[in-house]
Symmetry: C2
């Protein structure tokens, strides 16, 4: 039997009783620790082991994506728990694990838990007003890697009045390009994208798009499209956004401001997430107000009015 157990978002006590019972009855316990981390700390293996009274095997990307047979085959005769931060179906790789277990005739059970996909509701923007979720990844100058297709997706959501949850990049046990090429098992220190970094990246996209000069026979459709979106004010530095840090923990921090201002904020230790607001409804505005740190509430009203102006004009 293979249990895939969500650990929730923040603390050891976020596991459900169902999940804890399964872990305590397991012969082997794996912990996936590269798509997310629990509560921002990197060294919680010991803590978890004490709490569960079980030894834990850390499962990195290589083990889960390439050597998953070890986990699945063990589940033929033994009870195996595979622990995942958040909910088990938050990442493609866990879906794949389940699928391969089924193919081998292994029974599986899923124990659900909170993930950022629903806990994001804590900022007061209603879950049914969200569009497609996007991911923002670290850019790398060295590798000339600057994906920005997410920008158009945020714009599509905003055009429909919808909010966008932005999942921010996590790099745990990753190799640098050079170490990857040379096949060396040397890992970079873990990195977690902050709300400030994500916001800065967006501001950069916006500014570059605005400055972009089109040629007469320009065929760079991506750049042309970005320029159009920015010039149509669908997404600008002044669009309202929500920065969230450590959702579910006692020191959870939420900040509402323009993307431009969030580029300068410091929300502290990871994990961070971000929401780009779509059309704001009265209850949502009242809730966001709780998280606005500006000088006066008058300023917040101005920000909201200018933010929602886009929808009035449409």
């Amino acid at each position: 039997m293979l249990y895939i157990i969500g650990l929730g978002l923040a603390d050891i006590e976020d596991i459900t009783l169902k999940g804890l019972n399964a872990v305590r009855n397991s012969d082997l316990v794996y912990l996936e620790h590269y798509t997310s981390i629990l509560g921002g700390g990197a060294d919680y293996k010991n803590e978890l082991e004490k709490f569960y009274g079980k030894e834990i095997i850390l499962a990195d990307r290589t083990m889960v994506e390439q050597n998953s047979d070890e986990i699945i085959d063990a589940a033929k005769d033994k009870t195996v728990s595979f622990l995942v931060v958040g909910d088990p179906f938050g990442a493609t790789t866990h879906t794949d694990l389940v699928l391969r277990a089924v193919e081998k005739g292994i029974k599986y059970k899923v124990v659900h838990n909170a993930s950022i996909m629903n806990a994001i509701g804590c900022c007061g923007l209603q879950l049914y007003n969200y569009g497609e979720t996007i991911s923002i990844c670290f850019w790398s100058d060295a590798e000339n890697w600057k994906p920005k297709s997410y920008f158009e997706k945020i714009c599509e959501n905003r055009s429909r009045g919808l909010h966008t949850l932005c999942l921010l990049d996590i790099k745990v046990k990753e190799k640098s390009l050079i170490n990857l090429i040379k096949n060396r098992d040397i890992y970079e220190p873990p990195r977690f994208m902050s709300v400030a970094q994500a916001s800065s990246q967006m501001v950069q996209i916006i500014q570059e798009a605005r400055d972009y000069v089109m040629d007469e026979d320009d065929e760079n459709l991506t750049e042309i499209n970005l320029k159009k979106l920015v010039e149509a004010n669908i997404l600008t530095e002044d669009t309202l956004a929500v920065g969230l840090a450590r959702v579910g923990k006692d020191d959870q921090t939420i900040r509402v401001d323009t993307i431009k201002n969030l580029a300068d904020c410091d929300l502290g230790s990871p994990l961070h997430s971000m929401v780009i607001a779509g059309k704001l409804h009265p209850l949502e505005i009242d809730f966001l107000r709780l998280f606005y740190n500006g000088e006066a509430q008058v300023k917040f009203d101005d920000l909201v009015n200018s933010h929602n102006d886009f929808y009035v004009k449409k």
Copy 2:
């Protein structure tokens, strides 16, 4: 202190340890029981009380939406837990409760849990491929109440290749129109929309739209738009969908088929949910295959090909 605690989806043991500790340390425990129910059973108050070792006060819509001061004021000097099936921020009304608590200077803490918004991942359609979530409510001939604006939202999602989570109506402790008008405290038996009912409703919209005859100076924009959407094959009886019943419970049931065929399925006791598929990716197709009950897998491949055909042609 006011704790808003998510109970998860299915069983009593789906509460987190953090949530259980908060309940056991509370002076008063309220259970919201009209936006969702735990595990399909209606009579779980006693079971919960035994499990928690606490008396539970059932909070119906009237109490939460109109008499919430009772709950909030109690939290001034006492520790109050407010229990919600799923995650606390799944429904507008809970956001409102938090807001009113903050306005009165009451401290609050949220204990997150799984909700259908993320647990829906169990059908294998990746969460980041979902668009806006929609709600399908019971139609009432008597009251001439047949909202179908959700149909256009599903079409917008599908045009972008996105899946749509459909939340199906729940009527708990509702009054009939006549009892509402006469202000009589007589309640209808609880009703939970099934996947078959939701699918039938969609088939009806599709057929009526196809049969709709436009006049030359027709100004019924809604009907005209529906007709266009159906004739463009954006959403038809043959679109693939997923019906889910009792997500997270041991007898969880998932069925993949065309909307037309789901209109005839019986997935058993509540709660039910449904997903209208957008563009299907290889891993998603492999996973959906597990839940297809058709005669032969060949037929499933045909269904998927014809479903994805829409995106190839685009």
